[in-house]
Amino acid sequence: MPFDTGRPEMTAEEFRLLRDFVYGHCGILVRDDMKYVMQRRLWPRLEALGLTDFSAYYRYLRFDAQRRAELETAIEALTTHETYFFREPRQLKAFSEEVLPQLERRNARTKRLRIWSAGCSSGEEAYTVAMLLKDSGRFEGWDVEVHGTDISRRVLAAARQGEYGPSALRATPPDKVARYFVHVGPNRVRVRDDIRAWVSFGHHNLQDPDAALHITRPDVVFCRNVMIYFDTPARQRVLRLIYDKLVPGGYLLLGHSENLINLSADFELVHLRSDLVYRKPELGGGGSP
């Protein structure tokens, strides 16, 4: 391959060992046709650690004193943190115009709203949701929290910082930029403080049900373009976790290319005017605090 000369090739055995190790830790499945991508994304790690081949890297992940930190770095390198503000506008329209009014009615007594952005990456989705809540004008004076979680600590640090470049804003209407961001440098903006006040972040491995104990039961879960990383059993585990966490009648919003066909019939499919979303039935079982 051009540009790749002088770098170690990942053998089929090394690929399998690394792939299975990552899968065992977090359920992320690197498909067989992704060997090249895995190799490319891990090359910088070999370089940084002074290792000569991927077998040595595998043993580093297994046996080095720094193995835990390195595994996180490897997972970070292997997952694409592609996200931006106001991604998938049709779904966001459905959320704003049809889901939020329902939630306002349902929670009118408690005036409390919880939204979970599962796999939030660098925070664009969680902040977008908060901006939509603010735009709706329905939740002023409410106890609102949009909680973003991700397995990568590095992206969470970026999310908390709340500063972004032009790429993150490529689908954001100019009026929203003017309303919800402040300029902090050339080509850099920061999310306004009143939006940040509604958003929190935390580290979470979606494959670890115990780790979800700290997440308050949400009214809505955004889990968009996250399950693409998992195989069927791992997806089913995530869906079970989301199902258990959601309040009865709560909504699940997936990415536009994702659905629950052959994964779960636990959720109802709800036909909204602008989009299809999933909902946990009112009499749905499960539930953890």
Binding site: P2, V37, R40, R59, A65, R188
Partner: protein
């Protein structure tokens, strides 16, 4: 009312989920569920039926549901359940292919296709060739595309001569699915048929020959967009299948064809932006032939389909240096995956003229973009790049890449780089700066390193210990001895590493203390160091650690014993019984040359882990005698794992030659 209905549905759904499938009457309860008005309840019923005991009866019952003409939902749910039944459903479904009702025969063919079981091949071939109903024949042809087999492929080729276009189309699609193209002249005939043209291009893509590429190129010149797109898809498939030696000739043919098509840049751009991954793959091949820099950002965006990343890299490599500037200018608008590949390419294409834009990117870019800019600055061979890189030497994430970039620039500007590194160190830079300083400045930096070894900063102290040993082994060893008493485990670990790297067997006493250190990282480093410096006195300590449940410790103990040449057979046997497969493999490799090791490798051909079995096969291939051949052959016959099989095939071949 609607809410009540939903609650009732949920109650029925839950009832089926909670049903004891072994209980009397469960089968009929679930069959009733197949007839429910709710798809969720039907799904739960279909899933439940796959778990009911006496599956033969379940299969027959499901087949009876397929015959309920007015119950579309139930029939589809029954079909779904049958498709989940596996091989047990094949016999009854093959019998259903002989039913008087063509509707039922079609159902049977469809489900057999979903089951994908090879036992259905002959029956489906017969249905495709002889059934009196066209829909059944088409369903059988489609099913054969999922079932596969040599008989199926031959029959599908024969069907290409059938007068029914729909049947021809299904056969062609199935041949494409089986990746079994008919002979090229046959494909040429089908390309002339408007109904079959698109599918004919699909199979044409499966023929990685230049003659086939030339046919594809004719399609690229077609007026119809659908034909052009079909040709592009074929081009992508051909490129993925062609031997590397054939690629240049294929690409030359494409280039020649596209040169004659001035509007090609436009429709290749559209294809790069389409949602069809196969079309994108073909468009990449066309873009590589066109080499238009303005296509570069679109090409980079194709990396959002991660499996196309190699082809994206290959395509961008064909583009000239102007591509670098095009990518740099669009970097802020690219998606994350596109930025990733654009960054890789940019780094290869930059020169000194890129410095101002790269420095700007350090101001506004996210960390991933900054890392690209840093790496690229190191490749510019420009003095102007030194200062901006030096400013990053205290950045926790970018100091490492910045140091590497500065070391690259030091080939041209050693003095300026040393100055920049020294200045950064005085102002609290990351420890990697110290290593780089010695690498670039050499022994002249020793006083600075010694000073740094007395610093308060733990990372700097630790780095100083290792760096000093690298340039002054005697002084380094002395510092390492002192540092073994440092209060920080990180510094002690560095000191132990130095003992291993530059010390000799006289380090055994010091390493005994290190092996008992309270910090795991120090103990692990000590295990490595014992092997490295030849501290034979510590063999007993190592042997005691081989059965340690922590694989990190056991692995290192085995490795160290092997390096010392002190791995006794008894210890080797203990090591191959370890629960961690990496320890077992390390022992296998360590004992490979000994007769005991070979004998243990034979036993490990039946190990639970595929990688241990593969490693054992390699040991036998390297060191086994002819007496190992029967066991290796037997293991090969039983082996199901592809990688272990590969190693066994190689071992059998090598053993057979002895």
């Amino acid at each position: 009312m609607m809410e009540e209905g939903r609650n009732a549905e949920e109650a029925r759904y839950r009832a089926l989920l909670e049903l004891d499938v072994s209980a009397a009457g469960a089968r009929e309860t679930l069959v009733a569920g197949l007839h429910d008005e709710s798809w969720r309840v039907r799904r739960a019923a279909a899933d439940g039926l796959t778990r009911v005991p006496e599956r033969d009866k379940v299969v027959e019952r499901l087949i009876s549901v397929l015959g309920e003409r007015d119950e579309t939902g139930a029939r589809n749910a029954a079909a779904e359940s049958l498709a989940g039944m596996g091989a047990e459903a094949v016999g009854p479904l093959v019998r259903l292919l002989g039913h008087v009702d063509p509707d039922q025969r079609k159902f049977a063919a469809d489900i057999l296709g979903q089951l994908g079981q090879p036992q259905a091949e002959d029956a489906l071939v017969q249905a495709m060739m002889q059934d009196t109903d066209l829909n059944v024949r088409v369903a059988a042809a489609e099913a054969l595309g999922q079932v596969g087999g040599k008989v199926a492929a031959r029959a599908l080729e024969r069907i290409l001569y059938d007068p029914e276009p729909l049947l021809q189309l299904s056969a062609l699609e199935s041949l494409a699915a089986l990746r079994h193209p008919p002979p090229l002249p046959e494909v040429v005939r089908l390309l002339g048929n408007p109904t079959l043209k698109r599918s004919a291009y699909r199979v044409l893509g499966l023929i990685p020959q230049v003659a086939a590429t030339e046919l594809v190129c004719r399609g690229l010149g077609a007026e119809s967009r659908s034909t052009r797109e079909a040709a592009l898809v074929a081009l992508g498939t051909q490129a993925s299948l062609a031997e590397p030696s054939l690629r240049p000739e294929m690409e030359a043919a494409v280039r020649l064809a596209l040169k004659r098509l001035p509007e090609a840049v436009g429709w290749v751009a559209s294809a790069l932006e389409s949602d069809d991954i196969e079309l994108k793959a073909g468009a990449l091949v066309a873009a590589a032939a066109l080499r238009e820099p303005q296509l570069a950002p679109l090409v980079a965006e194709v990396a959002q389909e991660e499996r196309l990343m190699p082809e994206v890299m290959r395509t961008l490599a064909y583009f000239g240096p102007e591509t670098g500037r095009e990518l740099l200018a669009s970097m802020d608008r690219l998606s994350f995956p596109a930025r990733e590949v654009a960054g890789h390419v940019l780094v290869e294409l930059v020169d000194a003229t890129f410095v101002p834009e790269l420095v700007q990117m350090l101001d506004w870019g996210e960390v991933d973009l900054k890392a690209v800019a840093v790496q690229a600055l190191g490749r510019t061979s420009s003095l102007e790049a030194v200062e901006p890189l030096a400013q990053l030497l205290s950045h926790p994430e970018l100091a490492g890449p910045a140091v590497r970039a500065l070391v690259t620039l030091a080939a041209h500007f050693p003095k300026q780089v040393v100055q920049a590194l020294e200045s950064a160190l005085e102002h609290g830079a990351e420890p990697v700066v110290l290593s780089a300083l010695v690498r670039v400045g050499g022994t002249a930096m020793l006083p600075l390193v010694r000073r740094t070894a007395r610093e308060a900063s733990v990372p700097l102290r630790a780095t100083a210990v290792e760096v000093l040993a690298a340039v002054d082994p005697v002084g380094g060893l002395e510092l390492a001895r002192q540092s073994l008493t440092d209060e920080s485990p990180r510094v002690r670990t560095a000191a132990v590493r130095v003992l291993g790297q530059v010390g000799d067997k006289t380090m055994a006493g010091l390493l005994k203390q290190a092996l008992a250190d309270e910090a795991l990282e120090v103990r692990l480093a000590a295990l490595d160091a014992v092997g490295e410096c030849g501290a034979l006195e510590r063999v007993a300590d190592l042997e005691a650690l081989v059965p340690h449940p922590d694989g990190a410790i056991a692995y290192r103990a085995v490795q160290a014993l092997a390096r010392l040449g002190a791995l006794r057979d008894e210890v080797l046997r203990k090591a191959v019984g370890h629960g961690d497969h990496e320890v077992v493999k390390a022992a296998l490799m360590a004992g490979a040359a000994s007769s005991e090791g070979v004998s243990l490798a034979v036993g490990l051909l039946g190990h639970a882990s595929w990688d241990v079995r593969a490693a054992a096969a390699r040991v036998l291939g390297d060191s086994g005698g002819p007496e190992c051949l029967p066991a290796t052959r037997a293991a090969l016959a039983a082996e199901m794992d592809s990688l272990a099989r590969r190693a066994l095939v190689d071992a059998v071949e090598r053993l057979s030659g002895r």
